[in-house]
């Protein structure tokens, strides 16, 4: 029986080693590492290499990286493996986003947000590879003819209507790490060899298996490099304790990932080495270890029983692993930062949930991961906690306590609705039950899905601008949408809807055309044998994941700005067709000229908005999501999978907002849209229960690619046992009624201070003042000070 004591569970204090490791990572300025880009280029510069089949090129290039990149074992480390040559760093993928990424080459170290260190010499080295990749990067190769090629690149650079992320690589997956640690790479390579023998020589299939064999062996040798390094270091180490540790590291890396992991330590080490290699192969974005508490548990239990592991030691190893994850950062140009937010590469670790039979799967490791997460509070990994009706109380209590204390993590996921939604998309029940989030919020089956969950983002509100202007942007003559009737001919709300739907359909059709081309380019020029060997189905089918080899295939398309579009449509219905406050033509004039009449705008601003428990207006947001999903569901990707709808936007809601004209809900030109499924900025004025009632009006079986629902709560409200119980009540009610995901953010002092200094940024921040709640902006300076003081105390 493996129930750890309460004392163990509440142990969030970290060992000195962990404190030092964390400090070392947090104090390192993130940098850019050129190694991958340069080795990759060197390999491809050889014309002979370029003539090899794509899968072989890929495997050999990655093999070169894994054998030639610099390796390091840092002081105090137990889990080893360095993603880049810098302690905290990112790699470049010139063959993927190549040129567009290098547009910032000389700005990286000095830019204001997320500066990345890079030396003159490194800049110069990168500059020299630009000509080679200028006609070989994936975006350039998407379309074969020059005309379409240029149009595609221009569209992507402007990105008014949609942004295709897949053209910079796919990634976004949770590998089958259970197989890696239970079988080891030799067993996988042997399977590939067997299957290759049956494949027709020279076929794509045979090449694929050959590539898998190359890369499986390279991964094993990558581990052995660290074993050798640890042995050398041990021989020179004067401190006997550290010497023993280095020897242990060497022993671990001698075995894994080549052989099945024989201990908890080995399992963690194997996963991390594969984590590095996968990031280097496919793109450093959302490569997710996933349900670690599940696939690691047998190792944990065995070691504990054998007396070679204690919970405290396990905690230290897990902490060491998590800190290593934070060493991996993405390299985004300023433009991409605006779309993807800063320094976030979405490596998800999921705990809890049900097992294949639907029974609760929470175990001691689930708690241990939560403890480590709470104690570390680092940027990565991104922690998710699954909940279901039968989640144990101790588990819920632990999560509620962590959230109420202001950790803002883990994000919460509802098994009931997610499993149902996945089954409707064609997942087998037991595979759906084995889901984990990847990236931000997207559910996939661990080790079985190639779901390209971040394929593209669509600017939905801008389509209303087109719908009101015959398929053109305000103030332009050139038509970029489909022709729809002028506003003067729109007699009823149904006419507006029809025009909006026509624009939506037109853009989604165009998007899918482009996506098909990008999918083909990925398959032709950027196959991913390492990824594929860790996804169920690829070996069996003899096909790379980019060619549809995985068991489940999808592409996730994000519907950005649903609440803005919904509120805007409601405003038209209410003001034009119900109250007859203004004619559609006059409203059109207001929008085209960005609200010349402030009073008219003020009227529109005050109309009901999504998020306030008003069924009439909430219904319009629901409508937008349903239409989006309905149209999208007609298409299939080239891997044979469906396009699914996601409701999260990272920071694209700001990017798209900047490009979009005025809209009827009182929004001015250029203002950011609401994030994810949030109400239009600060327009939820009735508190969390009303907001949840509104959100619960959406049908989340339509959003198979996941949603992001952020709720902000005042720490003062969440204080004490009562506060935690209240939080539990909110979550349970929301989930019981079909909610999908929720992220609880506790207002921190910084946010309040910002609200004090810039009231316009947080117009309706709700805080509690002695038993009643108030908008922060309504408080006098003295009261605001008191609230800030209070929240400082609550945050400790």
């Amino acid at each position: 029986m493996l129930s750890s004591t309460t004392e163990d569970r509440n142990e969030t204090r970290m060992t000195d080693r962990v404190t030092r490791l964390k400090a070392a990572v947090q104090e390192s300025a993130p940098g850019i590492c050129t190694e991958r880009a340069l080795i990759w280029t060197r390999y491809h510069r050889h014309p002979a290499n370029r003539r090899k089949p794509a899968a072989i090129q890929m495997a050999e290039a990655l093999q070169r990286v894994l054998t030639q990149k610099s390796i390091a074992i840092y002081p105090d480390e137990l889990i080893v493996g360095n993603f880049t040559a810098k302690r905290v760093g990112g790699s470049l993928y010139p063959e993927l986003h190549g040129l567009p990424m290098l547009e910032d080459l000389f700005k990286f170290p000095t830019r204001k947000t997320n500066p990345l260190q890079i030396t003159r010499r490194e800049q110069w080295d990168l500059l020299k590879i630009i000509p080679f990749w200028s006609r070989r990067w994936l975006g350039y190769r998407t379309y074969p003819t020059l005309g379409r090629r240029l149009r595609f690149i221009l569209h992507q650079l402007r990105g008014e209507y949609y942004l295709i992320n897949e053209s910079g690589g796919i990634a976004h997956l949770a590998p089958d790490y259970a197989r890696l640690i239970n079988d080891g790479t030799d067993v996988i390579a042997a399977e590939a060899r067997r299957r290759q023998a049956e494949a027709e020589p020279g076929s794509e299939r045979a090449h694929f298996y050959a590539a898998v064999r190359i890369i499986a062996e390279s991964l094993a040798r990558f581990g052995e490099r660290y074993a050798r390094r640890a042995e050398t270091m041990a021989a020179r180490e004067s401190d006997s304790v550290r010497r023993a540790e280095l020897k242990a590291i060497a022993a671990v890396c001698r075995r894994v990932p080549r052989q099945p992991a024989a201990s908890f330590h080995e399992a963690l080490q194997a996963v991390f080495l594969a984590q590095i290699a996968l990031n280097l192969e496919s793109l450093d974005n959302a490569i997710c270890p996933g349900r670690m508490d599940q696939y690691l548990f047998p190792f944990y239990a065995r070691d504990l029983e054998a007396g070679i592991l204690t919970p405290a030691r396990a905690r230290e190893l897990v902490a060491a692993f998590c800190i290593k994850m934070a060493e991996i950062v993405p390299v985004f140009s300023e433009r991409l930062t605006r779309i993807h937010g800063g320094m976030f590469n979405g490596q998800v670790v999921t705990v809890g949930g049900v097992d294949a039979d639907g029974r609760d799967a929470v175990n001691d490791l689930s708690h241990l991961f939560l403890d480590v997460m709470d104690a570390l509070r680092m940027r990565q990994p991104n922690f998710h906690a699954r909940l279901h009706d039968g989640s144990p109380k101790t588990y819920r209590d632990r999560i509620n306590a962590i959230l109420a204390a202001g950790s803002n993590s883990p994000a919460l996921y509802n098994d009931e609705i997610i499993v149902e939604t996945m089954c409707r998309q064609g997942y087998r029940l037991e595979d759906a039950r084995d889901y984990t989030g990847v990236g931000c919020v997207e559910p996939v089956s661990q080790g079985r899905s190639f779901a390209s969950t971040d394929a593209a983002l669509v600017n939905v509100p801008i389509l209303l601008e087109l719908a009101l202007n015959e398929g053109r942007r305000f103030g332009t003559r050139c038509r970029t949408g489909v022709p729809t009737p002028p506003v003067s001919a729109m007699r009823a709300m149904a006419d507006v809807r029809r025009a909006f739907e026509a624009q939506l359909e037109f853009q989604l059709t165009r998007l899918v055309d482009d996506l098909h081309a990008v999918e083909r380019a990925n398959r032709l020029y950027h196959p991913t044998p390492l990824t594929s060997m860790l996804l169920d189905g690829c070996l069996e089918n003899g096909a790379c994941s980019t060619a549809g080899g995985a068991r489940y295939n999808f592409s996730g398309i994000q519907c950005v700005g649903p609440a803005d579009a919904g509120d805007a449509l409601f405003a038209i219905e209410q003001a034009v067709f119900r109250d007859r406050k203004i004619s559609l033509t006059a409203l059109f004039g207001q929008l085209r000229d960005d609200w010349p009449d402030p009073e008219m705008r003020s009227y529109f601003l005050r109309l009901p908005k999504f998020g306030n428990d008003d069924p009439a207006v909430d219904g319009w947001t629901r409508y937008v999501v349903e239409r989006f999903n309905h149209i999208l569901a007609r298409f299939r990707n080239t891997r044979g999978g469906a396009y699914t709808t996601g409701l999260y936007s990272v920071t694209a809601h700001q990017y798209f907002g900047e490009l979009t004209g005025a809209l009827p809900h009182g929004r001015q030109q250029g203002q950011a849209f609401a994030s994810g499924i949030a109400p239009v900025n600060g327009m939820d004025r009735q508190g969390p229960t009303a907001l949840i009632n509104s959100v619960n009006r959406l049908d989340f079986t339509q959003t198979a690619n996941g949603i992001n629902f952020n709720i902000k709560l005042d720490p003062f409200t969440l204080r004490g046992k009562t506060g935690r119980a209240g939080l539990n009540g909110l979550v349970q009610t929301y989930f019981r009624r079909g909610g999908m995901q929720m992220q609880v953010n506790v207002l921190d002092p910084e946010m309040l201070i910002e609200a004090r200094d810039h009231p316009e940024r947080h117009p309706h921040l709700l805080v509690r003042v002695s038993g009643y709640s108030a908008y922060f902006n309504d408080l006098t300076p003295a009261m605001q000070e008191e609230i800030i003081q209070r929240s400082c105390l609550a945050h400790g």
Binding site: Y603, T689, G720, T722, T733
Partner: protein
Amino acid sequence: MQLDDTHPPTSVKGLVFDVQRFSLHDGPGIRTTVFFKGCPLRCRWCQNPESLRSRPEVAFYGENCQACFRCEAECPHGAIRRTPGRRVDFDGCDGCGRCVRVCPHEGLRQVGAWWSAEALVAEVLKDRDFFVDGGGVTLSGGEPFAQSPFLEKFLPSLKAAGLHVTVQTCGHFSWNHVAPLVPLVDLIYFDLKHMDPDAHACCTGAHNRRILENFTRLVATGARIEPRMPVIPGSNDDRANIRATARWLAQNDIETIRCLPYHNLGEAKGRRIGIKLEPLTVTDAVETAMARVQAAFAHEGIHAVIDD
């Protein structure tokens, strides 16, 4: 919140100045708190001055006002002023709210609206799904029992819907009107401000005889009562008052009291509706006073819980 009507009602309606959803510290579980407007007391430390008068009022938010004077043209009583920083002549204003509806900048807000029992029930039922773990509805104020004719219609509907009902009262009400309502209430928070009649009158503007009588009667009905005491350093936290309060509780077989710390938040809110509270001399830091009071109660054998 839905504003029902700002004109005096024809049928029995309730005058409510706020409906606060997701209240966590006003009774068990997640609650919706209804703030009734109108109070028989005038506590010098009042933290909800907008709850005092039993009629609708308007509040002026000077920081939002753009001095456009649309409100001026709309006011039937000439109660709008052009003085900077002051818009409403609170003596002339009858709270009709016409100015609020025309103000484009949220410079004016209605405080208090007449609700029908049906509308108020519908409003609290919106959060019914959240009233798990003992949650429900809290009637606060102001003094909810001052609107007993309305409660006669409102409370039975809440009970019919199966909701847990908590009432927060200052105790100053007519027993004959309230007695029939008591069985419809699950929990009563009863404020005991001062045991000394003169001191009570001085702090709150009313004698405490009626309050203490009502307390005893309520206890006698067997209703679930939790006494509360707002601890105002320098006004009611002296040893003698604590001792007297403790004895009073002991006489009524009660062992616990909730102590509420004082926050000076009423003053700023009062200014918006033209209520000037006499500044209060607070003799002690709130935390020190709370600790002292708790110890003093313990000495008398009463368990004091510090609410926050």
